[in-house]
């Protein structure tokens, strides 16, 4: 249990620094007529903190400094693509012509915004090979749900009602079975073979006329490009199923491999991973879905389109359309428009060659770290990796050390822990994704630190087991946090017994 008295020494709450009567602002004069709220809706007191602006700014600046972010340190959180978010993205997203629009404005008055959506759709289609694309979904798992609903709608529209089975490899992100289950499908897990690919015998045994499709992440969560990918697609397609591509790992293949060209029917992108938009902490994300020609009529709308090509004198007229057999809206208005502006900016800044170079460097960086750690850690599927790789965070001669201990010890060196205990098929997994935006010097610091921690694991295991030591809080009690789901906003002394 964290000691609350310690936390108060670290940084008081905004309520603790309140002083009665102190004010940070004045309300402007009301520009609408005053009305009285209905009885019962007006409260007598409102115990909000009373603080000067300077103290508010200092409080939140200090809090932000207690945090770890990609702007403060290396963040090799596998499967999350925590690349640097260029600041120009923030500049463009704040341009008044984008930031101050109202989503209900007539489309003739927001041509630039819809034009941006249209171009972004076209670019994402170009690098993925798809025919149709919707920018609606709010994030990755939402994109999955959308894509799976499209697959269901496609089978249903053909009168093929018995296709209720979705195949999920055992290395999949947990969101894949969740999205399928939410769409009313039955999930069948497919094991991986010894090289980390989908086991072909197990797959083919499930390819029958009840097959809705398969959800594949390629490269997969082991950071490996599935060598059986073509055969997997053929086997599923021959049985009448569809291929769902989880685009979480798209950062490995931009400008190199187009999912639609190698057999994928539906794929979601994660703009907050691959296309450098903010990630987590209320991001929000964005999970556009691309589809083949057969599935395009089922996409959620509205989708940006050219209504009139225009000519030498007149610019094109953009508008919003709804596909004919659309599964319906999946998000209010136009998706997370501010995120779309950031992703558009990123693609515009890098260009085609730049995006390809980003993927090449992402893969090179991951392979560099893998090579540097190969002699120190067990790498269960030791192949040339893509943008990330998985190692085992334990040693047979240091049995009391677990992946979690290594993760916590990394925090002492100002490094965010890798994803741990995932994928589930690797014991004590540590999943490392450096991204392309890190320099060789940073990669070396990380590799040196990992090697140093491995040495400590053997010479001074307690140092790892009690880590972190250099953070505002030490080891938190995750078990208690998970077992006692109490989020209280009072301090223990105020709690009524």
């Amino acid at each position: 249990m964290p000691d609350l008295s310690t936390s108060l020494k670290v940084e008081p709450t905004v309520f603790d620094i309140s002083s009665p009567g102190r004010q940070g602002h004045y309300f402007p004069k009301s520009d609408v007529p005053q009305t009285n709220l209905p009885k019962g809706f007006v409260r007598e007191d409102l115990p909000l903190p009373e603080i000067a602006e300077v103290d508010v700014v200092r409080h939140f600046t200090r809090l932000s400094q207690l945090n770890h972010g990609v702007d403060t340190g290396f963040y090799p959180l596998g499967s999350c693509t925590m690349k640097y978010n260029p600041k120009i993205n923030e500049e463009t997203a704040r341009l008044a012509g984008f930031a101050k629009l109202h989503p209900l404005q007539p489309t003739e008055t927001v041509q630039g915004a819809i034009g941006l959506m249209y171009e972004l759709q076209e670019w994402l289609k170009e690098i993925s090979g798809f025919t149709g694309l919707s920018l609606q979904p709010a994030a990755g798992a939402h994109g999955e749900l959308t894509g799976v609903l499209i697959m269901r709608a496609y089978h249903k529209a053909r009168g093929d009602e018995k296709r209720v089975k979705m195949l999920i490899p055992d290395s999949a992100h947990g969101t894949n079975p969740a999205s399928s289950a939410m769409s009313g499908l039955k999930i069948v897990e497919i094991p991986s073979d010894s090289r980390g690919n989908i086991d072909m015998d197990a797959l083919c045994a499930e390819c029958d006329d009840t097959l809705a499709g398969i959800m594949i992440t390629n490269p997969n969560t082991l950071g490996l490009f599935d060598e059986n990918f073509k055969e997997v697609c053929d086997c599923v397609h021959e049985a009448g199923g569809l291929i769902y591509g989880d685009g979480a790992n798209f950062n490995a293949i931009m400008g190199i491999s187009r999912p639609a060209d190698i057999g994928v029917d539906v794929l979601h992108f994660n703009l907050h991973k691959t296309f450098s938009t903010p990630h987590g902490g209320g991001g929000p994300g964005s999970g556009p879905v691309g589809v083949t020609e057969e599935l395009a009529p089922f996409l959620p709308g509205p989708i940006a389109a050219v209504l009139d090509e225009g000519n030498a004198e007149e610019p094109p007229l953009f508008g919003l359309i709804n596909p004919e057999k659309s599964i319906g809206r999946v998000k209010a208005f136009h998706g997370h428009f501010g995120v779309l502006v950031r992703a558009y900016t990123y693609m515009m800044m890098l260009g085609g060659e730049g995006l390809k170079a980003a993927s090449e460097h992402a893969v090179l960086n991951a392979n560099y770290i893998q090579a540097r750690l190969r002699d120190t850690f067990t790498i269960p599927h030791d192949r040339i990796c893509m943008h990330e790789f998985v190692l085992e965070g334990h040693w047979d001669d240091a049995l009391d050390i677990h992946a979690l201990d290594i993760s916590k010890r990394l925090m002492d060196f100002g490094i965010h822990p890798p994803t741990n205990y995932f994928p589930l098929i690797v014991p004590e997994a540590l999943m490392i994704e450096p991204t392309e935006t890190e320099s060789k010097e940073t990669l070396d610091v990380f590799a040196d630190t990992m090697i140093k921690i491995a040495e400590e694991a053997h010479t001074n295991p307690e140092l790892l087991q009690t880590a972190p030591h250099n953070t505002p809080f030490g080891r938190l009690d995750e078990v208690k946090a998970a077992r006692e789901l109490v989020l209280c906003c009072w301090f223990p002394e105020d709690k009524e017994e």
Binding site: P427, E478, V479, A482, R483
Partner: protein, 128 residues
């Protein structure tokens, strides 16, 4: 790792204690050790329902992972350990005792012979 001699086991680390035509089912010491601290146990079945061998009857969750628990043999559920969801830590502290999960009426006794004995599960080839 502790595998009591009188129990039978599946390769997925469920155990069964057979008494007459009734079997008590839980997860092994090895399973709880691999999952680490169990924080959540949920039963997906009710007393009186009948299931096939291999059907999921419960989900256990630790701070590391979630895992399904499967029927070791086919049968009817005759009792559920209703106290376990409120004390999931018992799966760690007493996997073969307090942390029993369900009791079943075995519908096909011949399925019991497919299960492993203590020596069988101890020698089971594991990834880790």
């Amino acid at each position: 790792m502790n595998f009591p001699k009188e129990l039978k086991y599946t390769e997925n680390d469920e155990w069964v204690r057979v008494e007459g035509d009734e079997g008590t089912v839980g997860i092994t010491d090895y399973a709880q050790d691999q999952l680490s601290d169990i924080v959540f146990v949920e039963f997906l079945v009710d007393v009186g329902e009948t299931f096939d061998k291999g059907d999921t009857f419960a989900t256990v969750e630790s701070v590391k992972a979630a895992a399904d628990v499967y029927m070791p043999v086919s049968g009817e559920v005759v009792a559920i350990n209703e106290d376990l969801p409120d004390a999931p830590e018992q799966v760690n502290s007493d996997p073969y005792g307090e942390a029993w999960m369900i009791k079943i009426k075995v519908s096909d006794a011949s399925e019991l012979s497919d299960l492993l004995d203590a020596a069988g599960i101890e020698n089971l080839e594991r990834d880790h």
